[in-house]
C-alpha cells in the first residue's frame, strides 16, 4: 500500500514515538576531553538509569518536519476570521510583538535591581494607569495570569473586604447567562452560588435580583454586556440593590471590547472587575498562556490587592511589600510582563480615539452580520446587540441539523467555527463575534458561507450533518472520546515471536 497519496497538508502525521527507529539521533557530540565521571558514584545508583523505555529516537530533519507539518495544520487569526463568540479573537498587531522583543524588555529579569528596572516598572505603571482610565476604576493589579485567575483574585478581594467588616457572607449571585468560570470562581472562594434567571429580553431580571439579595449576599457577578451581547441597561439599579444590602458588584470584563472608550464600569456602580488582555487588548491567546487578567477595583478594595504594589518614591519606582491587609501574592514575581508590554503597545498605538473607534467597529461588525444572517437563522433575543450576536439552530433543527453540524460545515468553507451551544440559555446557540479586525469583504465572505450552509440544510441536510469533508480527519467521535478517553500514548505490546 502506498501511504503518500495526498499533498502534505492533508496527510496524517504519526507521533514521534511511531517514527522512532533504534539508534537514530539528532546530535553529534565531540569526543570527551575531560576525565569521565561515574554517574552512579556521583548521583547514587537509584538516580541513574541505563535506558529510557520507549523514548523516541529520530533524526534532526525528522523532528523538524514533524513539527513543521503539525504547525501547518493550525488555524489562526493570521490565516482567517475566527468568529468565536465571547473569545474576542482579534488580530494581534505585529507592532506589539516588535515592542515586546526589544532587548531591554525581552531580557529583563525579575531579580534585576529596581534601580536597573525603572523602564519596566514605568511600563507596568503606565499600563495600570491606562486601564484605570479605560475602566473608571481606582486601582489595578496586573498580577493574575489570566481572566479566570483575575476573577478568583477579585472575589477573594470581596471576601477580604467583607471579612474586615466582620462577616464574609455566604452567597454570590450569578446570572444564568454567565460564563461558566463565574460560578466556579465563587465556589473556589468558598461561596454558595445562587443562580438568577434572565428576563425575556435576555437581561438580568431586576425583580428576581431584588428578591434574592440579602445580608448574606457577598456579591453579584455580572458580565456586561452579557453573553448574549446585550447591554445590562439595568446595571445602575442592580448596583443600587446590591449596595443597599452592603453587597458588592463584580463585573466580568470579558466583553469589554464593546465598552472601551464608550462606557466605564467605574461609572455604573461596579466595585471590582477583571479584564482579559488577550481579548480586549490584542495580546496573543496563546496555548493557555502566558496571559494577564488584570483586576481593577474601587478605592475601598485597594488595601486588599495582591502584594507587592508598585509605588513611586523620590522619583523612583519600587515595590511595596508592606501591605498588611493584602490577600497576598497570587502569582510569582509581578505577573507576565511580556503580555503587559504588548497590551500597552496596543493601547498607545491606538490612543483614546483609536480605542473608541475599535469598539464602534466591533459593534458595527456584529450588527452587520446580524442583519445579513437574520433572514436565515433564528434570533431568540431581539434586544439590540453589541459586539456579538447569538443565533439559534431552531430552524435548521427542524431538518435534523444542529449548531454543531453547521459549525463543522463552516470548516469546509475555510472559517473557524463560531462558539457552539453557549450561552446555555439559548437552545442550540450559535454565538458569533467578528471583532473590529474584519473588513466588510471578510464579513461578507463569512455571511455568504453561513447562508450557503443554511441553503444546504434545505437541499441536502446530510452533507452538513456529516461535515467536515475537506479536512485531514473527518468528524471525530466526541462521545467515545469523552466516555473512553485515551489520555496518553502507549507502546504497542511487543510482538510475539512466531512459533
Amino acid at each position: 500500500m502506498i501511504d503518500k497519496v495526498r499533498s502534505h497538508p492533508t496527510q496524517n502525521e504519526p507521533l514521534l514515538f511511531e517514527i522512532s527507529s533504534p539508534g537514530k539521533v539528532g546530535y553529534q557530540l565531540p569526543a570527551l576531553d575531560v576525565p569521565p565521571v561515574d554517574p552512579e558514584g556521583t548521583l547514587g545508583a537509584r538516580n541513574v538509569r541505563a535506558e529510557i523505555e520507549g523514548f523516541p529516537e529520530v533524526s534532526e530533519v525528522e523532528v523538524i518536519r514533524h513539527f513543521t507539518r503539525l504547525s501547518s495544520w493550525n488555524y489562526a487569526i493570521d490565516l482567517g476570521m475566527y468568529p468565536l463568540g465571547s473569545c474576542t479573537m482579534k488580530y494581534n498587531p505585529r507592532l506589539n510583538e516588535m515592542v515586546a522583543r526589544l532587548e531591554g524588555l525581552a531580557w529583563g529579569h525579575p531579580y534585576q535591581p529596581e534601580t536597573l528596572s525603572q523602564g519596566a516598572l514605568e511600563i507596568i505603571a503606565a499600563l495600570e494607569g491606562a486601564l484605570r482610565e479605560v475602566t473608571g476604576m481606582d486601582a489595578v493589579t496586573l498580577q493574575p495570569a489570566a481572566g479566570a485567575h483575575g476573577e478568583l483574585t477579585g472575589i477573594l478581594l470581596v471576601r477580604a473586604l467583607l471579612e474586615s467588616r466582620g462577616n464574609p457572607r455566604r452567597k454570590v449571585l450569578v446570572p444564568d447567562s454567565a460564563h461558566g468560570t463565574n460560578p466556579a470562581t465563587a465556589a473556589m472562594a468558598g461561596y454558595t452560588v445562587q443562580p438568577i434567571g434572565s428576563g425575556p429580553d435576555g437581561r438580568v431580571d431586576l425583580a428576581a435580583l431584588a428578591s434574592l439579595v440579602d445580608e448574606e449576599t457577598a456579591a453579584l457577578m455580572v458580565t456586561n454586556p452579557n453573553t448574549l451581547g446585550v447591554f445590562e441597561n439595568g446595571i445602575l439599579q442592580a448596583a443600587e440593590i446590591l449596595h443597599a444590602k452592603g453587597a458588592l458588584v463584580y463585573m466580568d470584563g470579558a466583553n469589554m471590547n464593546a465598552l472601551v472608550g464608550i462606557a466605564r464600569p467605574g461609572d455604573f456602580g461596579v466595585d471590582v472587575m477583571h479584564l482579559n488582555l488577550h481579548k480586549t487588548f490584542s495580546t496573543p491567546h496563546g496555548g493557555g498562556g502566558p496571559g494577564c487578567g488584570p483586576v481593577c477595583v474601587k478605592q475601598h478594595l485597594e488595601p486588599f490587592l495582591p502584594t507587592p504594589r508598585l509605588r513611586r518614591n523620590a522619583g523612583q519606582w519600587g515595590w511595596d511589600y508592606d501591605r498588611p491587609q493584602s490577600i497576598g501574592r497570587v502569582r510569582a514575581f509581578y505577573g507576565n510582563f511580556g503580555v503587559m508590554v504588548r497590551a500597552l503597545a496596543y493601547i498607545m498605538a491606538h490612543g483614546g480615539p483609536g480605542l473608541r473607534n475599535a469598539t464602534i467597529d466591533a459593534v458595527l461588525n456584529a450588527n452587520y452580520l446580524r442583519k445579513r444572517l437574520e433572514p436565515f437563522f433564528d434570533l431568540p433575543y431581539q434586544a439590540p446587540n453589541m459586539h456579538e450576536v447569538v443565533f439559534s439552530d431552531a430552524r435548521q433543527a427542524q431538518r435534523g441539523v444542529r449548531t454543531g453540524d453547521i459549525a463543522k460545515r463552516l470548516i469546509d468553507y475555510g472559517f473557524h467555527p463560531y462558539t457552539v451551544s453557549f450561552p446555555l440559555i439559548v437552545h442550540g446557540a450559535m454565538m458569533i463575534e467578528p471583532t473590529e479586525t474584519e473588513s466588510k469583504q471578510e464579513l461578507d465572505l463569512f455571511a455568504d458561507a453561513l447562508i450557503a450552509i443554511a441553503r444546504e440544510v434545505e437541499t441536502d441536510p446530510e452533507l452538513v450533518k456529516s461535515a467536515p469533508h475537506s479536512t485531514r480527519t473527518s468528524r471525530v467521535d466526541e462521545v467515545a472520546a469523552a466516555r473512553k478517553p485515551v489520555l496518553r500514548w502507549r507502546p504497542a505490546p511487543p510482538r510475539q515471536a512466531a512459533d
Binding site: S421, L424, E478, V479, A482, R483
Partner: protein
C-alpha cells in the same frame, strides 16, 4: 418514544421520583437525557448524604454541558446506581428504568405532593419547547 410512568412524580428540573414505602427512587427524565444528548459521565453523591428538596444531588455531563441533578425530595442517600459510573450511556437508553440514579430514604414523604404528575410534566415540557 418516551413513556412517562403515571406512578412517578416529576420536577421542573427534569428529575423523576418513584416512591415505595419510605424509599424514593430518583432518576432523570427522558426529556432531560434527550436535551443533554449523549451522556458521558455521572457524578453521584456518597451514601448517607442528607439532601434537601431542590438542592444539588450530583451532576451529569454530556458532550455539550455539565448539569446539576437536583433532589426532587429531601432525604438520606440510601443507595446509588454504581453501574452508571462505568456505563453512563444507560442514562440515554433507559432513563426511566435501569438508569435510576439514587434511592433516597425520605425525610418528608409529603413533599412528593409538590411535584408534577406525568400529565402535568408532559404539558410542562410541551410548553417549554
Amino acid at each position: 418514544m418516551s413513556n412517562y410512568p403515571d406512578t412517578y412524580r416529576y420536577t421542573k428540573e427534569h428529575e423523576w421520583v418513584s416512591v415505595e414505602g419510605d424509599l424514593g427512587t430518583v432518576g432523570l427524565t427522558f426529556h432531560a437525557q434527550q436535551e443533554l444528548g449523549d451522556i458521558v459521565y455521572v457524578d453521584l453523591p456518597k451514601l448517607g448524604l442528607q439532601v434537601e428538596q431542590g438542592k444539588a444531588l450530583g451532576s451529569v455531563e454530556s458532550v455539550k454541558a455539565v448539569s446539576d441533578i437536583y433532589a426532587p425530595v429531601s432525604g438520606e442517600v440510601a443507595e446509588i446506581n454504581d453501574a452508571l459510573t462505568s456505563a453512563p450511556e444507560k442514562l440515554n437508553e433507559d432513563p426511566h428504568g435501569a438508569a435510576w440514579l439514587v434511592k433516597l430514604k425520605l425525610a418528608n414523604p409529603g413533599e412528593v405532593q409538590n411535584l408534577m404528575t406525568a400529565a402535568e410534566y408532559q404539558t410542562y415540557i410541551g410548553a417549554e419547547s
